[in-house]
């Protein structure tokens, strides 16, 4: 693995008595989609603002492709595309005019026509900003973040306020951008988004990283394992499955069997059944999700803090 695209060590930022970011350390690899997840006020946006040089941290170090956002802000602005959580454009500016203006700011920009097509803004190119729907405004904002062909794109609450269809469209778009080799830092409080898009996720709460892992691993950790529920083609001896290293528990629920365990649980169960000449129907993987992980991890975090005090 090369140098990280983003390296944050012990970042701290306060606004007067308010500690926005207490102690955040994380590292984002080049080409990764990295999620920063947490409740409102957890310090996500402040972390990002310090990373791109919009704010100066009180302490800690930040490097973005090796550049220091305090002293090398000008270089950073050329290689980072930013989508801010809030922000609008003048109502009587046309979509194409806005994108072309931003295009002129960069040395090797993307093609406006191509970008508006990819973002589904082609038919809207000649329309005033004020006529755009929320989803279209959001996509325009993403377009402005990408027009400079950034090495790193920072997208803050990209799909907040979008309807489910627009949200899914935007996710597809982000996956497409990653395929072009852009590193993406995604700030969100939307669990499904992080699960769907992110290679790794940092859970931030009260200005600290409480967990950092892949979405699946975080969910599994929260659950203490996974659960597979299925209907066997014939009854079988429980020991067929309880003997497997992946399996930690087994119970019967009517004719269904519920197996809990870790690792490649589904594969292990299906293969063992198959070896015994059985099949499993109606297989359901109980997807404990990031949401569960979040509640569990932030809950225990808060508890630990209370105990320390």
């Amino acid at each position: 693995m090369g140098l990280p695209a983003v390296q944050i060590s012990h970042l701290r930022k306060t606004y007067g008595p308010l500690v926005a970011v207490d102690d955040v350390s994380l590292s984002v690899a080049e080409g990764e989609i990295f999620g920063i997840l947490g409740p409102n006020g957890a310090g996500k946006t402040t972390t990002v603002e310090c990373t791109i040089g919009l704010r100066n941290a009180d302490s800690g170090t930040v490097r973005l492709l090796g550049l220091d956002p305090r002293t090398e802000r000008d270089q950073i602005r050329e290689i980072v595309g930013v989508q801010l959580q809030t922000g609008a454009q003048p109502g009587k500016q046309r979509v194409g005019e806005i994108i072309e203006e931003y295009q002129s700011f960069y040395r090797e920009p993307a093609d406006v026509g191509e970008l508006v097509e990819v973002l589904g803004l082609g038919p809207k190119r000649g329309d005033y900003y004020k006529t755009l729907s929320g989803g279209q405004r959001q996509r325009l904002s993403v377009a402005l973040a990408l027009i400079g062909r950034p090495k790193v794109a920072v997208l803050d609450e990209m799909t907040t306020g979008l309807d489910p269809q627009a949200r899914r469209d935007t996710w597809e778009l982000i996956e497409g951008i990653r395929r072009r080799g852009v590193t993406i830092v995604l700030v969100t409080h939307f669990m499904e988004e992080a699960e769907r898009l992110c290679d790794r996720v940092a859970l931030i709460d009260s200005g600290r990283v409480v967990a950092l892992d892949t979405p699946a691993a975080l969910a599994e950790r929260a659950r203490g394992g996974k659960t597979v529920r299925f209907l066997p083609s014939a009854p079988f001896d429980d020991r067929l499955l309880t003997g497997l290293p992946e399996v930690t528990g087994l119970e019967h629920a009517g004719q269904h069997v519920v197996v809990t365990g870790t690792g490649e649980l589904v594969n292990a169960v299906i293969l063992a059944l198959h070896a015994a000449g059985l099949t499993a129907r109606d297989v359901q993987l109980d997807s404990s999700n990031l949401e569960d992980a979040f509640v569990k991890l932030t809950g225990s975090h808060l508890h630990a803090e209370g105990a320390a005090a």
Binding site: G87, A88, S104, L144
Partner: protein, 270 residues
């Protein structure tokens, strides 16, 4: 590593000067073009600052008595006296409405903040707005002067250089005031409130309701040191007498400097 090396090898754009013929100049030109389009699409300030003076001038020009020399006006006609007032009124409408309005709305919308994440500093948007409004101001002054000479037979100014200098200093002082309003006004709505409030005393001392020669001495003295009163004085002198004296020019320059520094000091980008 490649990306890092690339990022380091690129010189950062000089952040202050968008020189013509460079990529930065092209970017600045693009911003100016967009600001001009936006001004055209919300034309009320431009109409107010060009249309209103022209209409006023036509009204004064058509009043028969306004072309008669009046002894209490120092031997000038009413039209002569009102021409500088009308010119200054146009500039004032522009600087109080046209200049701060868009800038404050850009701050409200987050456009300035958004720009500060790009290689282009948000101050360029401010500069572009000044360029566009300056174009409007000069156009307005030109129209008023050309119409006054062609349609109403106004005499050519005694000192064209003095007139140009007076107008430029008046524009500088008023634009600095407009930027100061943009700096302190928290919302677009408050720009209108502040501007309306400021407009009345400013225009009073310019002589809109009572021309300066008719003011009691004490009001004239005050007027000499108000931004618009002194602008009218300088322009009047340049048109009727000759190159204006130092005092009104210096007062205008002082306003430009003081308001300009205050605007710079108090301007918030987000």
């Amino acid at each position: 590593m490649n990306a890092i090396a690339l990022a380091r090898s690129r010189l950062a754009w000089p952040r202050r000067l968008p020189l013509p013929g460079t990529a930065q100049g092209a970017a600045f030109g693009k911003i100016v073009l967009n600001e001009a389009r936006l001004a055209r699409r919300s034309p009320m300030p431009i109409i107010g600052s060009i249309g209103l003076p022209v209409v006023l001038m036509i009204i004064f020009g058509e009043i028969p008595s306004s072309s008669q020399v009046v002894s209490t006006l120092g031997g000038l006609t009413l039209f002569d006296v009102y021409l500088p007032i009308i010119m200054v009124l146009g500039l004032t409408m522009l600087t109080l409405l046209g200049l701060p309005g868009p800038l404050v709305s850009y701050r409200e919308l987050g456009v300035l903040r958004r720009l500060s994440t790009t290689p282009v500093p948000p101050s360029w948007l401010l500069a572009a707005q000044v360029v566009v409004q300056l174009g409007g101001a000069l156009t307005g002054l030109l129209i008023v002067n050309v119409v006054s000479v062609i349609a109403f037979g106004a005499a050519d100014p005694k000192s064209p250089a003095g007139l140009a200098l007076s107008c430029l200093l008046a524009i500088a002082g008023l634009f600095a005031l407009g930027l100061l309003i943009a700096a302190v006004a928290p919302t677009s709505g408050s720009v209108n409130a502040i501007s309306r409030l400021a407009l009345i005393p400013l225009m009073f001392f310019a002589g809109l309701w009572l021309p300066r020669p008719l003011m009691p001495q004490i009001l004239q003295d005050i007027s000499n040191y108000t931004p618009l009163g002194t602008a009218v004085e300088a322009i009047q002198d340049a048109m009727q007498t000759g190159f204006p004296p130092a005092r009104p020019l210096l007062v205008l320059a002082a306003y430009a400097v003081v308001f300009g520094f205050a605007a710079r000091r108090f301007f918030r980008w987000e």
